[in-house]
Assembly symmetry: C2
Homo-oligomer: 138 residues x 2
DNA sequence: TTATAAATGCACTTCCGTTGCATTGTATTT
DNA sequence: AAATACAATGCAACGGAAGTGCATTTATAA
């Protein structure tokens, strides 16, 4: 089990108090969060710092960006089974129209998508919208 | 073959010069357009008018909105084979990372996506990113 | 033709993402 | 340990896009 410090170190990211806090916050969350979510969790910190921290994490594939169609970029930790740096590892995201939360369904791989001749597929973004398990009551 | 006037009439949308122009503009385009694209095409018209016109078209399922991950909302006519009002009719969109254009691949239906128990799927947004046929040269 | 309601245009606001720059903090070298 | 170099942080501001309120114009109906 790696400590957060060791993880950041292995990615050549300087360990700071702020970054540890943000990482822990992301780790606690089970859903993808917006920059505003992080902002609200850390009143003292500046928006820019949070923004740049997340971007740093993103570049080092510690978090991945999610575009769930709400128009607001969300972020989630690349945890167990999510190797964002590997192109073929694509999982889908589920956006709940009720609670407005977006979760990563890492265990659900995206099926092969065929595109017409001449088109080259490099990346796939798949967002399923509906009602999540917590809201459906099923 | 319906005229545009007849189409708008059938959807209970008042026929105006502006709306006819915008419809024709969308019909000519083979790719999804942003509001700015429309804005640039009609210098005289106000952004708000264009915005509201597109929204009106959207509500009446004359155009459909596309979120291709660029962060900017795009719109495209619901033409032949695209029945946006029917939930099951979901086609995929292709976004070219080279020319930045987004096209509707209406003939390519989205495969059945399985979601975990408790989750209810209502809508699916699938965007494939890569290189389009015009840019690939294949 | 007049009354009614919708469409348009203008101004403005809000929100998110992003950048520049000064300042603080961390690490490294002597 | 002090000095240096560089990265991280905080503050301010910008820009683009979406959206709203209100006055005015235009179209439909009585």
């Amino acid at each position: 089990m790696k400590t957060i410090e060791q993880l950041l170190d292995s990615k050549n990211i300087r360990v700071t108090a702020m970054r540890l806090l943000i990482y822990k916050f992301l780790a606690e969350k089970q859903v993808a969060v917006t920059l505003s979510d992080i902002e609200n969790a850390f009143d003292k910190a500046d928006r820019t710092t949070l923004y740049r921290t997340v971007k740093t994490f993103e570049e080092s594939t510690i978090v991945h960006q999610i575009d769930d169609g709400t128009g607001i970029t969300k972020y989630a930790l690349c945890e167990k089974g999510c190797n964002c740096d590997i192109e073929t590892d694509l999982h889908l995201h589920f956006h709940c129209n009720n609670c407005n939360e977006t979760v990563c369904l890492t265990e659900h791989k995206i099926p092969q998508i065929k595109v017409p001749n001449g088109f080259i597929s490099e990346d796939i973004n798949l967002v399923v919208k509906g009602v999540c398990d917590k809201c459906s009551g099923l």
